[in-house]
Symmetry: C2
Subunit: 519 residues, 2 copies
């Protein structure tokens, strides 16, 4: 770098101290950018505020140019690594359980490698401790359900395949020695093909995919080595015992040290999505009537999370099925019902997605006409959101909502109100036509215009009504079903009320008895 | 079973021969159903047409009852297995490549187990042939891209982890023998945690998830056994060589024997979904105007495939990235653009999903008013479908469409036509109001009704217009981008035209020259 450029760079560092950004962000935001122009390569420094300073190209000899280029490459690489680490760090800070998970994996691996480091343990299990290490690496998943799914699949498949291989090996060894490899080979071919095919079947894929892999693996390993290794039984025994050691270690670590339950995750994800949907709906209506700000434009995008959450919901429900009772959930908690609620949320999100297209539609309705429906639309938006929020709270707290009926009624009334306003909108639109006789200048096209003019508004209103009906018909019902099958608690108020009624009855009964005695 | 029941059962078989159903379907449809009533357990036979015959309960001794129950269980189990096999068979018949895949896996496993069966090969690679078997089982995927992704990840991760483990082992062995386990343990802990964490980062997850697992696995196996096994280098060597044998076998089998290319699958899936969308849109409009039949109701559901295909499209694009040039696709074919087309199809499918809710809406518009827009709506539906089909054909054939501009113009004209009809609809609705002065009996509410009455129709029309605008703005542009980056062929007609023009020019040039010479 020439003196002139060094001066530029030092003035740059002055700028940076004045704008008080952190050293890392200076490093990241003021990096060297290579630009190629007609005269060759040119270096510029991008400053934090987006502007960039060009370092004039100089006439250098080849070695210097190579050195500069190399330096640029190294700096670029360091920058990219820094950015990557920064991103990764933000990911972990956002959800510290991810850090804990990594530490858990590290700890589990350390513990299992103790089998190697400690001589007495090593002598017990022998050189097959490798299988325990492998099991830990392959089986440890983020959620308890995922770990259990893999562990149980692994154990069952290993047992099944092991016994089958031993059985067929026994049969083959009793046949002529000549036929042994053929019997083993053909059985391997048939079993591997059949098991691979079964993985295409959706239910098998969802529950036993990993088990199928392990089944083929174990069968081929045992049958193939059975042809050579003489101490087959002892080999099978050590393999099974080391796998059990590995899986037990995984299950214990994942269940006892900061456990992440797939069921709980699903239980929290579904109402979180519902709340996002409610906010989106409100922001959408507010935006349409020009009452949104920058913040609401961001919140509006929440419905996209709902649209894209299908696969993660399904995998969580799949894993949750394997989890034992934990917290407020039984072993047979109706996880499928959460998927139904998710589907109903999505059906509502489709409506909102279509609604948002009204926001940036080309032919906007005049403000004066919009004004007419604003109150009713805003009301319907907020009552619909209320219903969704109420349902989300009901799911989160696993309590039947006291207010849900009132909220649904409010929503229905808001729909009626909006329909009334639409009726009176017709009145408003017809009026100019009414005055036709008085004012002959009004063109004869006047009554024709309104319908096309208000069409976007009408379709906005009808989409709002449609989303309200979807909330009522799909979402409320889905939550109702979940409440039924998961036996949600009665709300405390209702319990108190019942208790009071019962007490009153006893008191009144006692009074009656006293009164009777008096009589 | 008593004599009476046996007679019933035999009469049943008579029924079955009369209705000429296949033996398997008899087995499946006339199965025994256990029903519990107050008096105990009762058996009924479900007949093919849905009705069922009850076998009267009899007083049996315990052993007989147990026998019956056992028989029922066995029959039930056999039924379920039959159903399962039937389903699986249908799955395979539907796409025979699934059968081929299973055979390929079987063949690959057979070949790799030859290393064990044949003594010379066995002596070459030694007992570590197990790793080759394991590699084949774990790495073989349905698509070439999936197999390549796993193979390359496995090889690279094994090399990287192996060298790292050897290096750290070398450093540790030069330190005091006392520190060796600590150095190895701590390095294992740090690397395993860091690698596990990196799997949470979306880009790493998408491309190197399997590699991360293998990296941890190899590092822990080498470092842990390095502490014990003395011939570490030879062990690493055999492991790497067996893994290379396994991966090569997998790659060769999956690429040469009936290959299933993820790229080609994606290339076919996207236009197939577009065609489904086009059919859905047409059926939806036809259904709304009462022109649909049973068949069209089924076809209408096609848009749901589009809504649910996001994750499969993404995984295919992920795998396709690893595939070498094949067929008409280069190594760096722009697979990402297919995802964009998929996203645009989905945005259109959201519209159709909302449209379908108009079909079973409660407040239907009177047929007379519907009639007014029918032609324009049907026209818009069919022109929109045409545009989608044209785009799908363009993607499938990788040729720029000649007709696409005309098709888009047709669609635009259809939108204008529909808007005109909506204008004249206003006229139609206002008419009763016009006659108010002439006919005083007409209630004053008359002009108020129309807007609410036609609201579903108006919103249906506006959703159709919206879907047309999404097709134009998203889908056409996305296909255009793909055509640009994948360098789609010019259509033959245009090439011919250009050729003709060029020939004409040459001819006319020659004529000019001749003319000049004459002059």
């Amino acid at each position: 770098m020439s003196l002139a450029n060094q001066q530029k760079a030092s003035s740059l560092s002055n700028i940076c101290t004045s704008c008080s950004c952190s050293p890392l962000s200076i490093l990241l935001s003021h990096y060297f950018v290579k630009m190629s122009n007609k005269n060759g390569v040119e270096w510029s420094i991008r400053v934090g505020d987006g502007s960039s300073m060009v370092l004039e190209p100089e006439h250098k000899n080849g070695v210097m140019r190579l050195w500069d280029r190399l330096k640029g490459l190294v700096v670029g690489f360091v920058m990219r690594v820094c950015m990557f680490i920064k991103k990764a760090w933000a990911l972990g800070v956002d959800d510290p359980r991810k850090f804990f998970h990594c530490l858990k994996v590290g700890v589990a691996l350390m513990v299992v490698s103790l089998f190697y480091y400690m001589r007495p343990l090593y002598d017990g299990v022998g050189g097959n401790a490798m299988w325990a290490v492998m099991t830990v690496v392959v089986v440890f998943e983020y959620t308890v359900g995922g770990t259990l799914y893999k562990c149980l699949n692994r154990i069952c498949a290993t047992f099944l395949a092991g016994f089958l291989a031993l059985g067929i090996h026994w049969i083959a060894s009793h046949a002529s020695h000549q036929f042994e490899p053929y019997i083993m080979g053909i059985s391997l071919f048939i079993l591997a093909s059949a098991t691979t095919f079964s993985r295409f079947i959706p239910t098998v894929k969802a529950r036993f995919d990993y088990g199928c892999t392990i089944f083929i693996l174990t069968y081929s390993l045992v049958s193939v080595s059975g042809y050579r290794v003489d101490h087959l039984l002892s080999m099978t025994h050590t393999r099974v015992s080391t796998i059990i050691i590995g899986t037990c270690l995984c299950i214990i670590t994942s269940m006892l040290v900061f456990p992440v339950w797939a069921g709980l995750e699903l239980h929290l994800l579904v109402p979180r999505n519902m709340n996002k949907l409610a906010k989106s709906l409100e922001c959408c209506v507010a935006d349409y009537f020009g009452r949104g700000d920058e913040e609401s434009k961001k919140t509006l995008q929440g419905y996209k999370c709902v649209l894209n959450s299908k696969s993660s919901e399904e995998s969580m429900a799949n894993f949750a099925r394997w989890e034992p009772a934990h917290g407020r959930f039984n072993f047979r908690h109706p996880w499928k019902n959460y998927l139904k609620i998710g589907a109903s949320s999505r059906s509502c999100a489709y409506c909102i997605e279509t609604l948002t297209s009204c926001l940036d539609s080309k032919n906007q309705v005049p403000e004066s006409i919009k004004k007419h429906l604003e109150l009713a639309c805003m009301n319907l938006g907020s009552t619909s959101s209320n219903v969704i929020r109420e349902l989300a709270t009901s799911v989160t707290t696993m309590t039947r909502s006291v207010k849900i009926n009132a909220a649904v009624n409010d929503m229905k009334n808001a729909v009626l109100e909006l329909q009334d306003d639409l009726k009176s909108l017709s009145d408003l639109l017809i009026q100019p036509h009414d005055h036709k006789e008085n004012n002959e200048q009004v063109s004869s096209e006047m009554p024709v215009m309104p319908l096309l003019e208000v069409m976007p508004l009408v379709s906005f209103a009808s989409l709002l009504i449609e989303s309200a009906s979807r909330i009522e018909e799909n979402m409320v019902k889905a939550v109702e079903e979940l409440a039924e099958s998961a036996q949600f608690k009665q709300p405390e108020d209702e319990v108190k009320l019942k208790h009071n009624q019962a007490t009153n009855k006893i008191v009144s009964d006692e009074e009656n008895v006293i009164a009777l005695q008096r009589v």
